[in-house]
């Protein structure tokens, strides 16, 4: 067991830089999720930890060992691949035992470990089948089982749920969370699905264009996004961004005046705000209807437990807000909307975020 440390890691493919001088520590037993859009370098980073990609610069340590120069099999990691990568000609039992037999483990010990993992994953009755005879969910379990038997210092998951249908994905997500309680190893999980990240992670590493945007617990990342990118990437629907026309200081706090004239008295200290254009960010659940600026309803999405209403302010900026339960509003209706100043964020031109209270 041990934590994973990445130190000044870079990766370039020829002239193209994929990962640029990235440093990160994942604590022992943590469930870290690398989250980001396609092409942000999160899978490359995971493959570098696994030893499937070389490093252009930097170091990787796992536990007390430096592992970046070791062969993949010697690193003490096990990986679950996106397409499972089960050996098609081997039975489930042979698939799970392959890595153990390769390091010369005695057959009785191999059998015991397979039986143990199979019991944990409830795949005991599948052991003599071939991968082709299994469903997607079963293959997923076998792939996880193949990782578990190795008792690695760290588990690496490369978008393992993306091939499952929605219902199975939700169920497997819960099972993975349960697995992490039973097998308290360090786990690194790559995904582009923020729901998976929010539900599984003890810490989320939000990546964009080969850089880390923010590292934090799911709630931190949701409540206090470090950058405009994080704010827009996490949360459904995405955060609303409205241009700020002017900032006025009311006491120590800043009041943002939006382009359509809406005044939003924030809890953000005015002294800390930079000069230059600002953008106000507010989530759908923090927009209050029935007061403030006039708006026109354009689209109404009924989700059952809440309703999402897409409206347009007088200056033309779009705003999504949520009402609990069913809403009687219809497209074309008029509404008045006000951003809840205690829960808004301000972003400067470079995308840096400013929150109420202590800034990081």
């Amino acid at each position: 067991m041990g934590g994973l440390v990445l130190r000044n890691v870079s990766k370039r493919f020829g002239p193209v830089g994929v990962i640029d001088d990235l440093s990160l520590e994942v604590g022992e037993g943590e469930f870290a999720v690398f989250l980001g859009p396609s092409g942000c370098g999160k899978s490359t980073l995971l493959r570098m930890v696994a030893g499937l990609e070389t490093l252009s610069a930097g170091e990787i340590h796992l536990g007390r060992r430096r592992i970046d120069a070791l062969a993949p099999g010697e690193r003490g990691v096990a990986m679950v691949f996106q397409h499972y990568a089960l050996y098609p000609h081997m039975t489930v039992r042979q698939n799970m035992g392959f890595g153990l037999r390769n390091v010369g483990m005695p057959a009785t010990e191999v059998e015991a470990k397979i039986a143990q993992a199979a019991a944990l994953l409830e795949i005991g009755d599948l052991l003599d089948r071939r991968p082709a005879q299994l469903s997607g969910g079963q293959r997923q379990r076998v792939a996880i089982g193949r990782a578990i038997v190795k008792q690695p210092e760290a588990f690496l998951f490369d978008e393992p749920l993306s091939n499952l249908d929605a219902a199975l994905r939700a169920r497997t997500r819960v099972e993975l969370a349960r697995l992490h309680q039973q097998v308290p190893s360090t786990m690194v999980f790559v995904t582009h699905d923020q729901m998976e990240a929010m539900t599984l992670a003890t810490r989320i590493v939000v990546m964009n264009a080969g850089r880390i945007e923010q590292v934090g617990t799911p709630i931190e990342v949701y409540r206090r996004p470090a950058t405009r990118f994080v704010a827009g990437f996490i949360g459904t629907p995405a955060m609303n961004f409205l241009p700020v026309a002017a900032v006025e200081a009311e006491g120590a706090r800043a009041t943002a005046v939006l382009a359509d004239g809406m005044r939003v008295p924030t809890a953000i200290p005015a002294t800390r705000l930079p000069a230059g254009p600002l953008t106000l960010g507010v989530r759908a659940e923090h927009v209050v209807a029935g007061q403030g600026s006039p708006a026109v309803v354009e689209v109404v999405e009924h989700l059952g437990e809440r309703t999402l209403i897409h409206a347009r302010l007088q200056d033309g900026s779009a705003l999504v807000y949520a009402e609990p339960g069913d809403s009687a509003l219809r497209a074309g209706d008029a509404a008045t909307l006000q951003a809840d100043g205690s829960a808004v964020h301000l972003f400067d031109g470079a995308g840096r975020a400013y929150h109420a209270g202590l800034n990081p």
Binding site: A50, L52, A71, P72, V77, A78, A85, Y87
Partner: protein, 312 residues
Amino acid sequence: MSGAADVLAPGAAARPVAAASAAGVGRPSLLNLLFVLPYVMLMLGLVAVPVGFGLWLSFQDYDMLGGWNGSVGLANYVNLLSDRIFQGAVRNTLLFVAMTVPAFVGLGLFLALALNDGLRRSAVLRSVFFGSSVLSVTVVTLIWRLVYMPERGLLGTVLGAFGLPEVNLVADERLALLSVVIVTLWWIIGLPMTLFLAALQQIPREIYEAAALDNAGRARTLWSITLPSLKRTILLVAVIEAILQFQIFGQVLLITGGGPNNASRPVVQFIYEAGFRDWQLGFAAAASQVLFLLMLLAALGQLWLGRRQDRG
């Protein structure tokens, strides 16, 4: 149209609308036969009729000069069995197949494994090894006659440079067949190599990555991952090559002429000589049926072996 369909299929009316709108699709109709008719005609005319005619011919006394002298029952087959030259031809053919087919599988697999990478060097070598396949048998044998030529040939020159005695492969009874095996391998090794290359490229990269994480070394990966993934292709190459090599003819005729002392005469050459030199069509047809049976047995045997391994 839909009314007619309802009459043909009682209960169609009870089906949901979507099924009813597709009525007529997949239903047997004589009209549908028209679509396959061109193929059926070709198949009948070019395969079924000649095969049937050949079988019939093998029971006849049919001489190109003397004409048809009626059925002779199994006489052609009985004569074949006691024909020393035919026995030798069968033995030569079996030996030839036994030497070439494993060599095609082994060498093709070796070349494919060695050249299955993105290097320019490998791309050039792949073309080189496949290149000889496009040559006609005449050109190939011309090249190899220059190699095998006594005294001035490439083989003799090379052996001489090392101070070794000259070997005349073509004129030696024990080596004549081997000389044809070498020519054949050189000529068409490209096809098995290409089939193996295609199969290798079908193996997902993730599986090799999983094997690397599972501590599998090079030998282990080859034995436990690559070879099992190629099992079907190995079988395919073996069956294709067996069927092709049972019909060995051109190289032999042009290099050894079947000699010396019938040591390299294959069955097809026997058939050719019986039919088109001696004009005994019935006798030649009987020999053809024996060759057909041999090929059928060999192919079925390989498929059976492959299926048994699949289960095991």
